[in-house]
């Protein structure tokens, strides 16, 4: 398999481009996706390639254009709606939850909403309290939504393509922090499965469950721990709803210890749900209390040192796991 180096940004862009080429019902709509080239340059050049009917710049009106995406999806199109960052999604929350997630049920199964909403998520550029949140847990709580987290370059490249096949609304989280990060991915990387979590690294001593910005940080920590003789099994949840619990339950049954790592706020984050499933399903397999490393419960501050301190770093993972292993 030939490998190519590319940034996370480039991976995202290739995914969108392929989606547009695959299906003429697909169009991309969002603030500054066209003339500006995307707030984070993800869609740069696509307006020139596909024209203004397929790459639609919209006015600032999150509720309006997300709702329009829902309507267009109901009426047979396949919109990709970009909400520039998850921070602004609160303005469209009513459309996403009360309409997109609810219409199928409320109509007795008549109206499905095959819409994909992409959102930039998380910290990484010192953008402070109104631009840096990790709100995956909000969406993962909602029946009717499919919630994806692209924690690797291959998922950045390929999740969108599968998401567009979903008959139901998909929220796809992309991570601002990783945009400039370069990784190798298969040159023929394409659509990715969106039903299963993935074991990103095998290990026997402890299970580390994470997603999003946590994935590379966890793999880095696992490398370091491996050199210290601790073999960490790293699981990337990938699909936050409906959550694939089999993968991590099997791992916990093997390692008997688990740590959950996420950037989202601690109370009521994804970790709490992962804990609950472990307790309900494999309680007697546990050799030690579960632990979680989550975002500190604070609106993200601007200065770099405080921003960094507000989410778990790879060194925190290393030291927590060492403690959990009794070292």
């Amino acid at each position: 398999m030939e490998m190519v180096k590319m940034t996370y940004r480039e991976a995202l862009k290739q995914g969108i481009r392929e989606a547009l080429l695959n299906d003429e019902r697909v169009f991309l709509m969002g603030e500054d996706v066209g003339h500006y080239g995307g707030a984070f340059a993800v869609s740069k050049g696509l307006l020139q390639e596909f024209g203004a009917e397929r790459i639609m710049d919209v006015p600032l009106s999150e509720s309006g254009f997300v709702g329009a995406g829902i309507g267009a999806a109901m009426a047979g199109m396949k919109p990709i709606v970009e909400v520039m960052t998850v921070n602004f999604s609160l303005l469209a929350m009513d459309q996403i939850i009360n309409n997109a997630a609810t219409l199928l049920h409320m109509s007795g199964g008549q109206l499905n909403v095959p819409l994909v909403i992409r959102m930039g998520c998380g910290i990484g550029r010192q953008l402070a309290a109104q631009h840096s949140h990790s709100w995956e847990p909000y969406f993962a709580h909602v029946p009717g939504l499919v919630v994806l987290s692209a924690g690797t370059h291959e998922d950045a490249r390929g999740m969108l393509l599968t998401a567009l096949k979903s008959p139901d609304p998909v929220i796809l989280f992309e991570y601002t922090f990783m945009l400039n990060m370069e990784k190798e991915i298969a040159s023929d990387a394409g659509a990715m499965d969106i039903t299963k979590a993935k074991v990103r690294r095998d290990g026997k001593d402890i299970t580390l469950i994470t997603y999003g910005n946590g994935v590379y940080k966890s793999l880095e920590a696992a490398e370091e721990l491996s050199s210290q003789g601790i073999e960490v099994e790293v699981i990337d949840l990938r699909i936050l709803r409906p959550m694939d619990e089999e993968t991590f339950l099997a791992s916990v049954a093997k390692t008997h210890r688990a740590l959950v790592v996420e950037d989202a706020w601690r109370s009521g984050g994804m970790a709490a749900e992962v804990f609950s499933r472990i307790i309900e399903k494999v309680f007697f397999e546990l050799d030690a209390p579960l632990q979680r490393l989550c975002g500190v419960e604070v609106p993200i501050p601007y200065p770099r040192h405080l921003e960094e301190a507000s989410v778990p770093q790879s060194q925190d993972i290393v030291s927590t796991i060492r403690k959990m292993m009794g070292l």
Binding site: G64, F65, A75, M106, S107, G108, G109, Q110, N112
Partner: protein, 359 residues
Amino acid sequence: MVFLRAEGFLGASLEWDKEWLPQIYKIHMEKRAKEKKVSPGEQERHLLYQMMLIRRFEEKSAEQYTKEKIRGFLHLYIGEEAVAVGVTQALSDEDYVLSTYREHGHALAKNMDSGAIMAEMYGKLEGCSKGRGGSMHLFDANINFYGGNAIVAGHLPMDVGMALASKKQQKNIITCCFFGEGAAAEGEFHEAMNLAALWQVPVLFVCENNLYAMGTALKYTHAMQDLEKKGGAYEIEAYAVDGMDLIAVSKAANDAVKYIKTNNRPYFLVCNTYRFRPHSMFDAELYRDKKEVEEWKKKDPIPKYQQHLINKKLLSKKQIDEMEKQIEAEIKKAVIFADEGSWEPIEDLTKFVYSGQKA
């Protein structure tokens, strides 16, 4: 014809609109003419029938509510029938219609089966939304009726999106949405109007100004109360019409549809009307005078239109009696259908959360 050439989606550029649209309108009108009843007065009597059906159906619903056959919120449309009927007669069957929680009238005008509505309000499996929705959530995709939306103004953006889709797909249809004057204060109204105008999509916005949003009078809801003037803030053509007069509403709606089809732009139609009944069955009506209600009842659109047809010799007392009997029979049938309907088994509770879940 130009538009036959554009087979796939999205193929054509925006330029074709101008030459193409008048043709579309012509074809549309021919189609509508065929759909319409043709013998003299038939179409008029059909509209009267629809208004009377809505009225009686709602009265029966209220009755069923007091019998506790119907529960939850029940919002009656009584008094506003000329709006639903007058607007809908201007639409074709393929046009999309979206409405609010006060939507029985729109659903009936769009020819939704009255039995399916009654069963829905009972919460029966045979209801148009399989009983999941109740009175506030009538849906029937087969007749292009898209709810039944109970977040005030929440359907307006969707509406624009459906019209955007139909434009991209070069379907020659319009999307019509009904909402109250209260809804026009929500930010969604502003955003939807602006998007519709920017994208030049075929949307008919119908604001049913019945002077109250629950118990909040127009003057507490809008600083500027000539609602049609709001169109200007979005370069949207707008018109206000007497919503108690079927003929006026029909004409205004026909003009609006013609405008939309020939200009491929949205239109904002304000229908000034009044609800004779409380906001919902939970409303003690503390906020308005009984006298005010009585005054408005004098403008009842149904007797007014009956009288008009009688004057025009298009309707006889006997025909009215016949209609009433027919309506009585239809409603009776609907009630029996609902009564005899079945309850969804509890095991199916999580059905319809995701598509293709266990049936």
